[in-house]
């Protein structure tokens, strides 16, 4: 299945292109999804700092303002207020996509996301829903430091009423943005800056990837690795390397952490008995903690070894390259974690 593949290098991409598949980068797929949404839905609009400028949010909205005019709208540096503005426009049937250059800016709008968007459908007795998509980008590297590189997706797990998407491939970037746009509920859509250049197969037409449907990226019988966002290509590289050592790793990408597709994960752990969870965020109370608890509640007997997590340490991201190198986990850490689950 080309649509679930993760291209790890130029060779993978060439292979798919030669077999007739159209390949785009993650950022091109994002831009294409915006273009399709704006072209097909007059109620859709894109609002965010710099969405209409020369950079176009790292290229993801580049040039769209020329086609769609005021429906691609710059905004004041007022994240909470403008989230409220977008929520209310959504409450009367518009379909806004609000864009933050960094996920770190979401805490500025915590009140409107947590107290308002998430609760509106319940609180109004089901009369009004909020079809709002909030895009944000997890940064990394070049000394981005503690306020421009956080993965804050799991913060929102304890707020019922939000869907949380973390697309890892160009195919999912497009299909999940189209799904988020079509969803009548608020969707937090987390991208990763280091995925923007990744290439992969993307069909030209309209398609959606359901929010809350995991995908098995690679099959294996010995250990299950669950990974999201930029950790997915890392997990795939680790799995490829471990295969050379005769270890079969099954890589599962939940693609959304709310709703979380536990069925696919449980089916895999039932087969392997071993679980490693990879995240692009700090360790404590990440989505892996919730996943592990649900596993423990549902089927603790499946585990043959302790669960391992590969995540950022519970520390603010440092600036110095020497410290960044120590801070971020990589392919080797995932390989080590898999081996640990197989050690006994």
């Amino acid at each position: 299945m080309p649509w679930t593949s993760v291209c790890l290098n130029d060779e993978d991409v060439c292979c798919l292109e030669e077999s007739g598949h159209r390949c785009l980068t993650y950022v091109q797929a994002l831009r294409e999804a915006h273009d399709m949404i704006l072209a097909s839905d007059p109620e859709a609009f894109v609002i965010g700092e710099g969405v209409d400028d020369a950079g176009g949010v790292f290229g993801s909205t580049l040039g769209l303002a020329e086609t769609y005019g005021e429906r691609v709208m710059d905004m004041p540096i007022a994240e909470n207020g403008l989230t409220g503005v977008a929520i209310a426009a959504a409450s009367v049937g518009m379909r806004p996509i609000l864009v933050h250059m960094r996920a770190d800016f979401l805490p500025m709008s915590m009140d409107q996301i947590v107290n308002h968007a998430a609760k509106w459908h319940s609180m109004t007795g089901g009369q009004v829903s909020i079809p709002l998509v909030i895009r944000s980008i997890i940064g990394r590297g070049w000394g981005s430091a503690a306020q421009h590189s956080q993965g804050l997706h799991s913060l929102f797990l304890s707020v019922p009423g939000l869907k949380i998407a973390l697309p890892a491939t160009p195919y999912d970037a497009k299909g999940m943005l189209l799904a988020a746009h079509a969803d009548p509920n608020p969707v937090l859509y987390f991208e990763h800056r280091w995925l923007y250049g990744a290439k992969g197969p993307v069909p030209a037409g309209h398609y959606t990837v359901p929010l809350g449907q995991a995908v098995v990226r690679r099959s294996g019988a010995d250990a299950t690795v669950v990974a999201v966002s930029h950790a997915v290509p890392q997990a795939m590289q680790a799995a490829a390397a471990l295969k050379d050592d005769g270890i079969g790793v099954e890589v599962i990408d939940p693609r959304a952490i709310a709703p979380l597709d536990m069925d696919t994960i449980l089916a895999s752990v039932a087969k392997t008995g071993r679980l490693v969870i990879c995240d692009v965020a700090c360790r404590t109370a990440g989505y892996g903690a919730e996943l592990t608890c649900r596993l423990a509640e549902a089927a603790p007997q499946l585990l043959k070894a302790p669960v391992r997590r590969v995540s950022f340490p519970d520390l603010p991201t440092p600036a110095s390259p020497a410290l960044e190198a120590a801070y971020y986990p990589g392919v080797e850490d995932i390989k080590r974690a898999v081996r640990q689950t197989l050690a006994k």
Partner: protein
């Protein structure tokens, strides 16, 4: 009193009387402890909701606050659907999910209510942005108190509304208190309107207990908005008779001086209008008969609301997300 030419004073009196009696009924039944919802009463401020909403069509949007009852009624909400909501009944406007602080009447342009102070201000700007993008000619009216003007959302909202020239009317009901904290303890300048004017917004200040003055001010402000000139802002100075929440008066708990309340009660917006109308022939006995008929209607609404069924438990999960897709 402002000039009375062409001001529908009889209708404004009826509207204010409805808002007052609706809440006085709550005060009556609240001690029974069956109405299990924190009520934030509007008594004393009725001229503002009545004077502004007289100019709004059902299609216009309205954003209210935790102190929501009067705005909903003045926009046309049925008393029984509010009472039922306060009693937590499935027949309430939000099926018992919102209570007193979160009413929604989408058919009246009230798409939900925030009880976070300042939380709703950007919502009125958002509905106005929708109207501008759609060109539907609707206006949005956003009510909030003086306390909300201290929140960041107030400034973010005014800035954006002015920047985009949006069709939104901001109405600051300055009653001088946030719970029991006086304005002077919270703001360096007693006139919230000065902040709005700083954003280049068409701004007026008005006696919020003079319904004719509020009506006239709202008329000018909405004419400005409907001419496409951008947002407008009204600061209406008034006084809340009851405590921040609940049916008691604050002096009973040492929250505010009784003498201050007594002075403001002399400027009751309904009594001021009644006195004026008496000069042009209003019969107090006829008014009393009208109030009695209104009371009978409200009593029936309360009884009907109270006897309605509670919501089914499964409703909580069902309402978390909307199911159908676009």
């Amino acid at each position: 009193m402002a000039k009375t030419n062409a001001i529908p004073l009889d209708e404004l009196l009826d509207a204010m009387t409805l808002l007052r009696r609706f809440e006085e009924k709550i005060v009556e039944v609240y001690p029974q402890q069956e109405m299990k919802t924190p009520v934030h009463l509007y008594i004393g401020q009725e001229a503002i909701a009545a004077g502004v909403c007289a100019h709004l069509a059902p299609t216009d949007y309205l954003v209210t606050t935790h102190r929501s009852h009067a705005h909903c009624l003045a926009k046309g909400a049925e008393p029984e659907r509010l009472y039922a909501e306060f009693y937590g009944r499935v027949t309430g406007c939000c099926k018992g999910m919102g209570g007193s602080m979160h009413p929604a009447f989408p058919e009246l342009g009230i798409t939900g209510t925030s009880a976070i102070v300042g939380g709703g201000i950007p919502h009125g700007v958002g509905t106005a942005l929708a109207s501008k993008l759609r060109g539907d000619g609707r206006v949005s009216a956003v009510f909030f108190g003086d306390g909300a003007s201290e929140e960041g959302t107030f400034h973010e909202s005014l800035n954006f509304a002015a920047l985009k020239s949006l069709p939104v009317l901001f109405i600051c009901e300055n009653n001088g208190y946030a719970t029991v904290s006086p304005l002077a303890a919270r703001q360096p300048d007693a006139d919230v309107a000065h902040r709005a004017a700083g954003y280049g917004i068409f701004t007026e200040q008005v006696d919020g207990n003079d319904v004719a003055a509020v009506y006239e001010s709202a008329k000018r402000a909405l004419a400005h908005i409907r001419r496409g000139k951008g947002p407008a802002f009204i600061e209406a100075k008034t006084y809340r008779w009851k405590g921040h929440v609940g049916p008691e008066e604050d002096w009973t708990r040492g929250g505010r001086p009784k003498a201050e309340l007594d002075e403001w009660k002399k400027r009751c917006p309904i009594e001021l209008l009644l006195t004026q109308l008496e000069k042009s022939g209003l019969d107090r006995a006829e008014y009393a008969a009208k109030v009695a008929r209104l009371d009978a209607m409200l009593d029936a609404a309360i009884e009907s609301a109270r006897s309605a069924p509670m919501p089914p438990v499964e409703q909580m999960e069902r309402l978390l997300f909307r199911q159908e897709t676009h």
